[in-house]
């Protein structure tokens, strides 16, 4: 049984459809990266998976359970198992770093505050933000905020972690520190879906890579297959353009 | 676009909806309920000596108060006096807030359509109170265009005088005391009213040569008002009033408070009708039904008032803009003394109510020999307010002109006037246009306070109409809708003006 099964998924905003039938399967513990030109639907796919964009057709199942995105209970259960790190970090501006990491486990999942806090401090230490627990997001750099956002996601013990262009909004010199954190996480058993433009990074951490174009997955394979020996012309064009830079 | 207009049209209708939900009527309390609860609630005017007013001990006293006491005593219940201004007598009865209304309630057909009357308590004879400034021997001498008659809204005499004395100008005020003050301050020449009721206020102005013209113009009868259909209460009060007339109690109380006999006695036949409680009413007419007819009839009059409203708003805005421009420039570029003076003006005006400021302009300045008409006083008051608020608004615009832009203009060799006109003004206007037009809308709405000084603008005319046709809700629903349309048109026009003249709202300025 696949961990995450996506079949013929359609979605979009209003009348503008972006996903035109995405099908993709991800195994437990796999790190799958989505690549493709901008506008191909990579981010929309992640937003649809986490329920921020309503699918108009198709099915998504997690661990064999089909998810009905129109049902609140299904959505809540899904978000207990799967979470996302955003391009813009989306840290709550009115809470401290520690508050951002602890609020969901304590207030939503009703777990004991002391235990959650200890765990949160450990996670923040791990992403190198242990000394900024009481800082507010607006006083942190983008790279620092993104590392906090990753700690916030990890505090939920997700089975599946979605990473949506987590380095795109960062200054170039900050990209490395965030990638280093993710690199560490890969292979720890968390299933990850990564949207990224950092091709070297994708190639290094991914177990498989999916090429998307015009709202569909056009090719899936190992990094070596996709980057060195793609079967699809569109994949070839894309990787050629990327590596020319 | 369509969506926005739809929303605006609906906005106009919403008043109708909002008030339409509130139509049920309170039940009248029949005499049995009043006896059981042991309290009779009687409305008396709190500002109407010697009928009823607060004495030095803070208690209501007067002829009406004694009548109310006697009625409660005779009914064997406790008396609760409810202060009720003239214009609220009928509404308070309809709402069941009071059981009986005193306050010299004249029997009229309009009122009889809404409430019931007992047998008369007393008569009222209309005469003239004036001063030695006015050359007139009888009331007919007042029918001249150079005379201003003061009158009180909600009183029967208003409509009556339109027939009997058409020529004089009119000033409408809200309270009994205001009528005499208006004459004392020279705003009006004479009051045609029940002399007995009003003469008491002349004691506040001992320096004026007051006089009363002898012959009465007209007399009518005043009775106790009862909620429509409350026959048990009305007939019981009739019996008691009949007894009080026959036993001479009413005449005695009149003598006590007015030190004279009633100018015109209540006809014996009217009194006799109360002996057995009087005829049964049609009954059952209680409850409020909406009727817009009488309001729509006066729509042209109301729309005329809307023009006055705009006139007030425009005048105050224009004067205020001039004050505000100089205030803003003074505050930005002036010396410390000037800046402090402007700061004091702005702080004081923006922290006190415009209404009280205008009270001072209107009522206090005459004592110093400066007499402002009501419209003038309101416009000056609102202009002073506008000046203060616009000083702040314009200053925020002046402060937003960037030094670099000015430097660039100077380097390009523009003259100061050219800089002001081509560089500063467009920039300032873009910054402040929106607050400016919001303020204008505020001014249109704020000008309604002119009604409290007798100016016949939109709200004033609504009060005038509703005090005669007693259709207050209907009248004010229509007036509310007119205000909504007025402000929507004003904002729409200002938005268009801003867009075309100063590029307000265009992307990237």
């Amino acid at each position: 049984m696949r961990h995450l099964d996506i079949a013929d998924l359609h979605a979009g905003y209003g009348s503008q459809q972006i996903l035109h039938g995405v099908s993709l399967s991800v195994d437990r513990g796999e790190v799958l990266s989505l690549i493709g030109p901008s506008g191909s639907g990579k981010s929309t796919l992640l937003r649809t998976l986490i329920g921020l964009t309503q699918p108009s057709a198709g099915t998504v199942s997690v661990g064999g359970e089909a998810v009905d995105y129109a049902r609140k209970a299904d959505l809540a259960r899904l978000r207990d198992r799967m979470t996302i790190v955003f391009q813009q970090y989306n840290l709550f501006q009115n809470m401290t770093v520690l508050g951002n990491v602890t609020v969901t486990p304590v207030k939503i999942r009703k777990r004991p505050a002391a235990e959650v806090e200890a765990r949160a401090r450990a996670l923040l230490d791990r992403v190198g933000m242990g000394d900024k627990c009481d800082a507010y997001p607006e006083n942190l750099s983008g790279g620092q905020q993104q590392r906090v956002a990753i700690a916030r996601a990890l505090a939920l013990d997700p089975e599946i972690l979605l990473l949506d262009e987590v380095t795109s909004a960062l200054d170039p010199e900050r990209v490395g520190e965030v990638l280093a954190v993710i690199r560490e996480l890969a292979g720890e058993g968390i299933t990850m879906l990564i949207v990224s433009h950092e091709m070297a990074f994708v190639r290094e951490v991914s177990t498989r890579v999916a090429m998307m174009d015009a709202g569909r997955v056009v090719e899936v394979g190992t990094p070596a297959q996709i980057f060195e020996n793609p079967t699809e012309a569109r994949t070839r064009d894309f990787t050629a353009r990327i590596f020319r830079h | 676009m369509v969506d926005r207009w739809l929303r605006r049209i609906c906005a106009c209708l919403s008043l109708l909806l909002a008030a339409g939900l509130l139509a049920p009527a309170a039940d009248a309390r029949p005499i049995d309920d009043i006896r059981r609860e042991g309290v009779l609630r009687v409305g008396v005017n709190p500002n109407f000596p010697p009928m009823s007013s607060y004495g030095d001990d803070g208690q209501l006293r007067g002829f009406d108060v004694d009548i109310a006491r006697a009625l409660a005593r005779r009914l064997g219940v406790r008396l609760q006096l409810v202060p009720t201004e003239a214009a609220q007598r009928v509404p308070f009865l309809i709402s069941g807030r009071i059981d009986l209304s005193l306050g010299a309630l004249t029997i009229t057909p309009e009122r009889q359509a809404l409430i019931d009357f007992t047998i008369p308590v007393h008569s009222e004879a209309m005469g003239v109170i004036t001063t030695d400034r006015v050359a007139a021997e009888s009331w007919q001498d007042l029918d001249r265009a150079d005379i201003t008659l003061v009158n009180m809204r909600g009183n029967q005499s208003v409509e009556l005088l339109r027939e009997k004395l058409p020529a004089p100008q009119r000033l409408l005020v809200d309270g009994n005391a205001d009528t005499i003050r208006a004459i004392a301050q020279g705003r009006a020449d004479a009051l045609v009213e029940n002399v007995d009721f009003f003469i008491g206020f002349t004691r506040n102005y001992p320096d004026i040569g007051w006089r009363v013209l002898s012959d009465p113009i007209f007399s009518s009868l005043c009775a106790v008002g009862v909620e429509k259909g409350n026959d048990t209460l009305r007939r019981e009060v009739n019996r008691q009033l009949h007894a009080m007339h026959v036993e001479g109690e009413i005449a005695g109380l009149w003598q006590r408070w007015y030190a004279a006999e009633m100018t015109v006695p209540v006809p014996a036949a009217e009194i006799a009708a109360g002996a057995d409680g009087g005829a049964a009413g049609e009954g059952g007419a209680s409850g409020y039904r909406f009727a817009f007819g009488q309001t729509f009839e006066r729509l042209p009059y109301l729309l005329g008032g809307a023009l006055v409203t705009l006139q007030i708003a425009f005048s105050a805005f224009s004067i205020g803009a001039v004050i505000g421009l100089f205030g803003a420039l003074g505050k930005q570029y002036g010396g410390p003394a000037l800046r402090r003076a402007i700061g004091f003006y702005v702080t004081f005006v923006t922290n006190t109510p415009a209404l009280v400021q205008i009270f001072l302009l209107y009522y206090a300045l005459p004592d110093m020999g400066i007499m402002l008409g009501s419209l003038t006083a309101v416009i000056i008051g609102l202009a002073l307010n506008s000046g203060a608020y616009l000083t702040e608004i314009i200053r925020s615009g002046v402060a937003s002109v960037r030094r670099a832009e000015l430097d660039a203009a100077i380097v390009l060799g523009l003259k100061p006037v050219q800089i002001l006109w081509h560089v500063m003004l467009p920039h300032i206007m873009r910054t402040i246009f929106r607050p400016l037009s919001n303020f204008f809308v505020w001014l249109v709405l704020g000008s309604s306070m002119a009604a409290l000084f007798g100016v016949e603008e939109l709200t004033g005319r609504a009060i005038n109409i509703s005090s005669v046709n007693l259709r207050t809700i209907e009248t004010f629903m229509v007036v509310g809708a007119i205000y909504v349309v007025l402000t929507l048109v004003a904002s729409g026009a200002l938005t268009l003006l801003g867009r075309h003249a100063f590029g307000v709202g265009r992307k990237a300025g």
């Binding site: 921020l52 978000r79 979470t83 955003f86 813009q88 989306n90 709550f92 501006q93 009115n94 809470m95 969901t104 207030k107 939503i108 009481d134 607006e138 006083n139 916030r152 | 929303r7 609906c10 906005a11 209708l13 919403s14 008043l15 909002a18 008030a19 509130l22 139509a23 049920p24 009527a25 309170a26 500002n47 201004e85 609220q88 509404p91 709402s95 069941g96 807030r97 506040n204 922290n351 006190t352 109510p353 415009a354 209404l355 009280v356 009270f359 001072l360 009522y363 206090a364 809308v441 709405l445 704020g446 306070m449 009604a451 009060i463 004010f476 007036v479 509310g480 909504v484 402000t487 929507l488």
Partner: protein
């Protein structure tokens, strides 16, 4: 001027001072209660108008209608309508209560727009973040949206309250014995208008000025970035 000085001792009698202070208290109560209720109801309307639930569409429509109307009708007109509309429904309501309801009606309309603006100012990322973390509507509102929106809401909202303290003077027309009407009563008792209305004006200033300074401070503090 002489008459003002001559009247002053009688004017500042203990009875009159108590009378005016009681009236001042009513002015404060009317504003405080009306604006507080207005904030709560305004919050409700703002949330309603931002909601996307389909069957609430008619309610959203009515709310928009209400807000547009009550911001475009003079407070005096609303006061008079409140008096005549409420009396048949609730005859035992005091005039002060009716005036307070009128204040609430207007404050609700104005503050709902302020609050809506504040909620709109919270970036989309914030509530998307909350949604992805499984916050329900309530937690998203209370833990994320409102704390952030308050910085935008409070300055104009407090400016509105400062403004409205003065507008409650119009309630004197109903016969509510608030500050302005107390001045009118004293003047009708024969005191000089300079004295009667002058003292009232000073009392309004004493009430409004500290409030407006406090509002300006609040605005400055909220505008500064947080450093803790």
């Amino acid at each position: 001027m002489d008459s003002v000085l001559a009247q002053a001792p009688a004017f500042f009698s203990a009875g009159n001072i108590a009378f005016v202070l009681a009236a001042l208290w009513r002015t404060i109560a009317m504003t405080a209660i009306g604006c507080s209720l207005g904030f709560v109801f305004g919050l409700g309307i703002a949330i309603l108008r931002r909601s996307t639930i389909g069957w609430l569409a008619p309610a959203r429509w009515l709310a928009a209608l209400y807000v547009e109307t009550f911001r475009r009708v003079p407070f005096l007109v609303i006061l008079i309508m409140a008096l005549f509309a409420l009396q048949p429904v609730a005859p035992q309501l005091s005039l002060l209560a009716i005036a307070t309801i009128a204040v609430t009606l207007v404050a609700t309309a104005f503050l709902s727009e302020t609050i809506r603006g504040g909620l709109d100012s919270v970036p989309r990322q914030q509530w998307e973040g909350a949604a992805a973390l499984n916050f329900g509507a309530w937690h998203t509102l209370v833990r994320v949206m409102l704390p952030q929106a308050m910085r935008v809401i409070l300055p104009p909202a407090s400016a509105f309250v400062v403004m409205f303290v003065k507008d409650t003077s119009l309630a004197s027309h109903l016969g509510v014995v608030e500050l302005t009407f107390s001045g009118k009563i004293l003047v009708n008792r024969g005191f000089s208008p300079v004295l009667g209305f002058g003292v009232i004006l000073v009392l309004y200033f004493a009430l409004s000025w500290p409030l407006s300074i406090a509002a300006a401070r609040l605005e400055k503090r909220l505008a500064a970035p947080r450093h803790r």
